[in-house]
Symmetry: C2
Subunit: 344 residues, 2 copies
DNA sequence: ATGCTCTCTGTGAGCGTTCACAGTAGAGAA
DNA sequence: TTCTCTACTGTGAACGCTCACAGAGAGCAT
């Protein structure tokens, strides 16, 4: 018996027609005002704006999209398996940064999760159907098929981090992983450390590859012998940090520092070192990467490499919008910063 | 001189008309197949499906939305100030849960951040313009104006956690905070603790109020005197946990346990206790709330209350979709679970 | 036969916008 | 004057879909 449609029954919103009538002009003129106001007389301009204010008019994006073919929205696509998503605080700030940068252009962000094969197919269909104008792609392991599919379909695309194993024609924004790693290892060397272990990220990710490369470069440049017993790989998770450190201690008990490719793994490394009764930083210095909340949460707090996530997100949006606007793909590399804390 | 539009120039996608021609039927029939297939003969049904597969047809949601008035998308609205957003891992899993639950219905999720007054206005406009069918509202402090505005406008709305200070006609899904608190305090009592301090959340949030209420109830039921020197408030942040514990130690140096209304604050409490040379759990037991990653990351690991975030998100989506479908608002309360670890 | 219901199908209209085009008025040049 | 150019305005068409309606045929009772 009740109306059942909430508090204030949703009334029909005003259309461009209502505004035109209210302002005493034609649809066309209102439309022109809405789209930049070129070829509109000041008086008409003002009348329309007043009418818009009075009626509370908001453009119907569906109608607009239908004719323009644009959707004025972009997708934020996550292809990671579950665990990493909510373990890694970087995704969070990246997501927030992108949302805000887009909001400034009045563009809503659609969150898309392609964890399973099934989801991947649905999302590809959705995107290639033109329901978003472009895609912000986060963390594609190498060979992620969705990136090349989208590329193939001509969808504007910006990746976070350099995608490996894809043709070079895809835009990306990344921190200078290699240089960050160099800074950290130089810092460790400067503290007098010589037996520096490293826990890398997955070697099918740019972060995994580049940070290791930086490590090697600095060792070479300092003429410290490269010892492969000092190198183990993790998957960015806490647990893999614990395991990695255990392996390092076993293979090179004399190590006096560890460079860890993520703060989360570094937390794991700290746990293992504590269990092994190594003091940090007295016996072993530990350097992380990311400057995530985990870095300050750790005891002792972590010396780490800050990635400029705020700039990364805003650059991703900038590059994507440029590409939607017809520009060619571009790559942007941003500098990192060493943050010294208690662990070194 | 170049075409400048990426790899494969985006071709015009097939329309319902193309499918109809391909299947040898009319637009109407194709549309009916698309919308449930009632009043369609099996042979037509099959012909249409085949044609859809052959042409790679995907419905144009803008055209559909234009006429139906529905947008087949929902908003995920965050009204928190920045810090909490990416400090609180719960948002993360909530967000993921909602995205997935919606994906099952083929409904994209629009992420909306209303941090500033300005953003709030824009987003309200966007939503009330009908660009989403409903809103999942996360963490409204009391008096959050956006909730009542949306309610007023008749927008289907489901809050995460019981909104306080709003008329009762808004749907929400929440964990049973009070009961979780009761479990934790009973657990501490069972360990022989009698001087149990508490660091509450902000008292303008349901979590703040309810968890404190549970604490009081159990003390009363156990006939342990309530001592207001044992009660301090925080804001769910690490730092406020540190400060809160310091205040507790000062006002009640004899305390033998602390119930902390969030894991993040509990981490702060642990830090302060360590500085004050109180052993955990020997001297002081610490109980958290949330079972966030912070709980396992802490040393010692935290006994805490697990909130069923996966169920919370799926219930939120269920209730919202029901409401969009015309059902009345509903409240859902879900049980919590005590997780025992090293800190008690 | 006639009427009625029931399933199925095609058709026209219209959702709210933008776009292309045509047209008007005024200014300046020839 | 007349012509051209520029600034501005209004008017049909679309865009791709759903919805209401009309109509066709089948089945069954009257």
């Amino acid at each position: 018996m009740t109306m059942n449609n909430g508090a204030g029954a949703r009334r029909k919103p005003p259309t461009i027609h209502d505004v035109a009538r209210e302002a005493g002009v034609s649809r066309g003129t209102v439309s022109r005002v809405l789209n930049g106001g070129h070829y509109v007389s000041p008086s008409a301009q003002e009348a329309v704006n007043a009418a818009i204010r009075r009626t509370g008019y908001v453009v119907n994006r569906h109608a607009r999209s239908l004719i323009t073919g644009r959707s004025d929205s972009v997708g934020f696509l996550l292809t990671e398996p579950q665990e990493r998503f909510f373990e890694d605080p970087n995704f969070n700030v990246l997501l927030r940064g992108c949302t805000q940068a887009l909001a400034a252009h009045d563009i809503p962000l659609l969150l898309m999760l392609a964890g399973t094969e099934d989801e991947r197919r649905r999302i590809t269909r959705y995107i290639t159907a033109g329901h978003v104008d472009g895609v912000l792609l986060v963390s594609s392991h190498s060979g992620d098929p969705i990136a090349s599919e989208l590329r193939e379909a001509g969808v504007p695309l910006v990746a976070c981090g350099k995608p490996i194993g894809i043709g070079s024609k895809v835009s990306y924004v990344a921190a200078d992983d290699r240089d960050g790693a160099r800074d950290m290892v130089r810092h460790l060397l400067a503290q007098g450390r010589r037996r520096i272990g490293v826990v890398t990220g997955p070697l099918d990710t740019p972060g995994g590859v580049e940070r290791l490369a930086g490590y090697k470069e600095v060792l070479a440049e300092a003429e410290v012998a490269y010892d492969e017993r000092l190198v183990v790989s993790g998957d960015y998770s806490r647990a893999s940090g614990e395991a990695g450190a255990a392996r390092l201690l076993e293979r090179a008990p004399d190590l006096d520092a560890v460079f860890v490719a993520s703060d989360l793994m570094a937390q794991g490394v700290l746990t293992t070192l504590r269990r092994a009764d190594r003091r940090v930083p007295e016996d072993v210095a530990v350097g992380g990467f990311d400057d995530s909340p985990a870095a300050t949460a750790a005891t002792p707090s972590l010396t780490t490499i800050r990635q400029p996530w705020d700039r990364i997100s805003s650059e991703m949006v900038r590059v994507l919008l440029a590409q939607i606007g017809g520009e060619d793909p571009a790559a942007v590399i941003l500098p990192t910063e060493l943050v010294k804390r208690e662990s070194t």
